[in-house]
Each structure stands twice: as structure tokens, then as C-alpha cells.
Amino acid sequence: MADNGYNKPEGNSGIPRRDLLKGLAGIPLLGLFGAGAWSKQTYDKKIQEQILKELNIEAAVPPLPDLSGDPVRIGIIGFGIRGKQLMRALGFATPDWKKEMQKAAAQNPNDKRWETFATQDNLNLRVTGVCDVFDVRAEEAIAAGTVDGQDPPKRFRTYEEMLASPDIDAVVIATPDHWHAPMATAAALAGKHVYVEKCMTHKFGETYALRQAVQDSGIIFQVGHQHRQTQSFLTAMDVIKKNVLGHVSLIQTNTNRNDDNGAWQYPIHDQASPQTIDWQQFLGNAPQIPFNAEHFFRWRKWWPYGTGLAGDLLTHDYDRINCLLQMGIPDSVISSGGIYTHRDGREVPDVWQVVMEFPDYTTGTSQEAGKEKGLTFMYSATLGNQYNRGTLLMGHDATMELGNTLFVYPDARSTRYKDMLGNDLVKPDVPLYAYNPSSKGGDGITSATAAYFANKGLLYTYRDGKRVDSTHLHMREWLAAIRQNKPDLVSCGINEGFQEAISALMACASYKLGRRIEWDRETERVKNVTEEELGEVGMA
């Protein structure tokens, strides 16, 4: 650069050549940039399209069912922690909760709980009855269900009275596990539609009775596995259908919690007393013991009322997988564990492992016929550590990590992706497919960034990019089935509930009896356990 020269015109007119060269120096660089950026974009797109074409996964966006017509008249049985959540999913919250959430939202704009509730669709229903054996909760339920200009919901002292009422079309059951089947069966016999929380039942015998009652009555029956509404699960179903994973031989599911609330050390209400709680009604078919407030509020810790980790959490993990694979009831279940983290007088284990075997099940294969068959479902839980272990479906060709988001990683020794792996088109440590329903686009191959920012919560899912409570969608599906009188519309009906309940009960029986429990698919009975043995451990 001897001199800039731009101020010295060369020739009689126009811009001096040196001016021109220096003035436009950025243009070639910009040209190079354009060519580079375009070629990178084309390359990335080609790879993405090639992979997506190979996988052919369709991100499902289910339509929301229609809810027109007269309001469905609902009775709520049980207004504890879950009962309150279910009522909110239906659109009814206690005044105290509303105030608390509005305050939380005002303090923290990222707190979306109030917004999610307030913008929920109206499900076109009325709460006409409430039933809770604890007076305080019954009053709260009435307050939540009261709408301006309408009669408040009626309090029924017993569920039998509620079921006898002509003002109730359907009931939502959110009681301790030992009451699920007796109430749901009575409701079906009374012709009332049922939404019942998991675990569907508490004992083997009542599971058959409930199935029979629901099938005979033709009521609309839904079990509370709201995960079935999670949009990523619907996409995951297509991943399985398209055999993207190859033969899945092992599934790993987990629970990791490390706090008192997660270990069911729920608060004991200061107004709890034999005067405010109908203790006899709470006990039901459980052993008769004197009033015990801890048993009432922390019932999950004792076998007569609950099923421990089985009913609370294994059922969710089992059903999440069963909705994808429809593998049904395992041929055998073995479980083991102990009370290692909360030695507070509880009966149920707090560290617990369950192994379910499905020796004849297959998701499909990419290898020669007959080489692969059989699947193990493993559930591993501790209430003394909250390190997050993902849900993994491990196939010969790929591994799927299943959550609110979805990641599929190719296996380094895959048969199906051998060529793509050889060409470095895909890599074992980079997702072959990623799905984040909170984003309106961005499907297909992704960077680690998307993975890190992935939403891991399971309470919410997305519809058209909007955050929605999955329980709300699950109940909406149930209400739509009631309106249209189509039992098949529900995604977790009596057959799915039967499979969930039997599988979980087999796991409990294995722990209690200290042996592997086998299932006879033909007779639909456990094989190697007698009625007496089941009776001895309170599960007949």
C-alpha cells in the first residue's frame, strides 16, 4: 500500500481504479462468504433430509377433541394432593391456590403455572358433587368447584351416596390405592363414567372384577396415565413403528428422588382428628387399627393402603413404555430392594429394582430373521438420590432417550445405519433424530445446544407450541369419549389399566414373597403363586 491514491483521479472522469479496488475490497470477501455459507447450508440440509427420509418419522400433532353439548356433571372423590391437581386440570382451583399462583407469577415472569391454568380450554363440565372423608378437604373441594351464579357442589359423606345421585354423570377417583377398585367397580355398576388414578387396583382379585364391571356396563373408563398425551410420546410411537431402533432388547426406566416429599413424607394437617376424619371409611378393606393421622396423610408408606413405588411411579414408567410398544403383561417379574433411606417405620421399600421379562416380544429387526427376540424391562428406583437417569430404549440400531423431548442416537454397531456411519453421515454421539415439541420447527438432526436446553419436565406437554397440562388433555380425552359415547376414544382404558395393574401387582408380590412371579397368558392368571399365598400378603 504505497499510497491511497483515491483522491487523485486517473483520467478525465469516473472513479479512479485504485479507489474502486479499495472501495470494493469487501465484495470478493462477501462473495466468498456467500459461497461458503450456501455450501454449508446445502450440505447440512442434504444430510438432514437424507436422515429424515431414511427414518421417515412423523411428528404427530393430534387434534383436540370436540366438547360441545350439555355440561358433564362430575363428582370428585378424594381431594388430597392429586385430587386438587385433577380438579385444576378440569378448570377448578381453590381460591387460595389461585391467589398463590397469581402472586408467584407477579414475582417471577418465568413461573407459567398460573398462565397455563388460566388459559386452559373450558372443558364444558360442572362439579356437582364432592366426597372426601376429611372435612377440611371436602370444604376446599366445594370452594374450588363453586362457580358464580350456580349452586355449589353438594358434599356427599360416602361415595355410595354420590353414586346413587342422579346429579352425577361421572366420577374422578383420587383416593388411596386400596379404594380405587371398590369405588370404580361400584361406579361402573351404577352406570357412572370413571376417571381413576393409578395404580388402577391394589389386589389381584379386584382387578378382574373391575374389568368385568367396566366391560359389562359400557361406561367410559380412563386410568390416570397422562403421559399418553405427551406429544413426544406420540412421535416416539412412530419411531417404534418405523423400526428406527431395530430390535429393542433392553429398556431402562428410573426413579430418583431425594427429598421428604418425594418419599411421601407429606405434611399432616393440624386439624386432622377423629372428629374431622371419617377413619372407618378411610380404612375400608384395610386392617382395622385405631385412628392414625400419619397413616391417613402418608398412606403410600404402608401396604394395606398403597403399593409403594409400584403404584406411584413404576406404573407411570411401565405405561409410558406400554403405550409405545404394547408389550402387555410380562411373562415373569422379579423384584428386590429394601428400606435403606427412610427408616421411619414404613413398610414399603424405598430402594427398589424390578425386572420384567418379555421373551417372545420383538419391536422388529434389521438383521436376519430369527436372530433377535425378547425384551427386558427394567425399573430402578431410589428415594435417596436424585441424579437424573434417562428413560432408554436400547435397540440394535439405535437408542432412544424418552422424555418431553426425544433423542435417537445411532448405535456404533448398527446394521441399518452401517453405511451412514461409515460415511460419517451420522455419529453415535450425535442425535440422529431430535424432537422438541416446544419448538415449532427444528426437527431432524440437531446440535448439542438443543439437547442441553431441552425441557425435561413431564407435567406439561405442548400443542401447537403452547404449553398445556398433560393431565388436562388426558381428562379432556375422557370427557370427549363420554360426550360421543365412544369408549375407544380413551387412550388408557380398562385393557391398558388391567395390564398396568397386573404388572405392578406382580412386582409387589415378587417383593413380598421373595420370588419370581410368572404370568400365564392363556388363563390370565399368575402361575406359580396360590390364592392363599396372595391372601397372606394382602393381595388376593
Binding site: M1, I15, G23, A25
Partner: protein
């Protein structure tokens, strides 16, 4: 913004132009890559903020309407800044804009002791990271303008004092009249 222009040796001028164009290239591609990535949003990044201003960034991420504006400004800001720096047009304004964006990125994710981000950094940093360094480099680009020598501004800047590079390699500011003399 300064209107007169400093003088440079050939080496200084080359170094400044290279710095300007490399940063321009980087910011332009950051903008273009975001533009081409469907569904891209800064919300995830902002939600992961830490430090003094984390509350403000998280509040921004929480507002859907605001994020539409923020994403638009960020993407098109990066593209225009990149183009300005590469082409040498309004490059001092572009540099200033770049400094503002980079300082915002820095404030959102300052490398503080004991702070972990969702996306791990590719190097090891303590208080100073590449965003801060790039912002400082852009300050140099802003305060030592070169677009009037190498850049489109050469065609538009004739009314202000212009530097010349002397035969010996140093530059002298000269007046418009003198330059045309």
C-alpha cells in the same frame, strides 16, 4: 462518533482491516445461521443467564412478544453489523452495535466463579471470555476506522478530512481541498 480519520502505516492499516473483516465475517455468519435455523430463539440462552442481570434476561425470555422482537433484532442486527464491517460502510456504527450485542451476551453469561451454564464453554475462562475480547476488538475497529481507505465509505466520505498513506508508508490527514490540489 469521530469525523476526522487517523493516519496509519501500511502494516497498521492491514491489521485493522483484517480485524474488521474477520469480526464482520463471524458476526454475519452468526446472524445467517440463526436466520436459516427454523424455530431458533434466544429464549433458551437468556433463560440460562446468570450474574447481576440474570433477572432482566430471564424476564425477557419469559415474554413471547418481547422474544419475537429480541430475536428479530438479534438476527438482523448481526447480519447488518457483519455486512457493514465486511463492506466498510457505516462500519463505526456497525462496530458500536457489535460491541453492544457482545456486551449483552457477556452480561447474560459472564464466566463467574462457581457458575455453570447449560451449554458448557469450549475453553477455560475466568471473568474474561471471547465475547468480551471480541467486544474489545470491535472497540478498536470503531476507534481506528479504516472504511474510508478500504471499504465502500471511500466513495461517500469525500467531505471529511481523509488520511493519505505517504510514500514512506505513514499516513497524514489532509483536507479535501489539499487532496484535490
Amino acid at each position: 462518533m469521530r469525523t476526522n480519520n487517523p493516519t496509519y502505516s501500511t502494516g497498521q492499516l492491514s491489521a485493522l482491516v483484517i480485524l474488521r473483516m474477520l469480526i464482520g465475517w463471524h458476526l454475519l455468519y452468526e446472524g445467517v445461521a440463526k436466520l436459516w435455523s427454523s424455530g431458533w430463539s434466544a429464549a433458551g440462552y437468556l433463560n440460562d443467564s446468570a450474574g447481576l442481570f440474570a433477572g432482566m434476561f430471564k424476564a425477557m425470555a419469559g415474554s413471547e412478544g418481547l422474544m419475537t422482537v429480541v430475536n428479530f433484532l438479534n438476527v438482523w442486527g448481526l447480519i447488518l453489523i457483519g455486512l457493514g464491517l465486511i463492506l466498510g460502510l457505516a462500519s463505526r456504527w456497525a462496530a458500536l452495535g457489535g460491541v453492544v450485542l457482545l456486551v449483552l451476551y457477556y452480561l447474560s453469561h459472564p464466566p463467574l466463579i462457581g457458575v455453570q451454564y447449560a451449554l458448557p464453554s469450549e475453553g477455560n475462562y475466568l471473568w474474561v471470555n471471547k465475547n468480551l475480547i471480541e467486544a474489545a476488538a470491535l472497540l478498536v475497529v470503531m476507534l481506528f476506522p479504516t472504511e474510508h481507505i478500504v471499504g465502500l465509505a471511500r466513495f461517500f466520505g469525500r467531505k471529511s478530512a481523509q488520511p493519505v498513506v505517504t510514500a514512506s508508508g505513514s499516513t497524514q490527514p489532509v483536507s479535501q481541498e489539499k487532496a484535490h490540489a
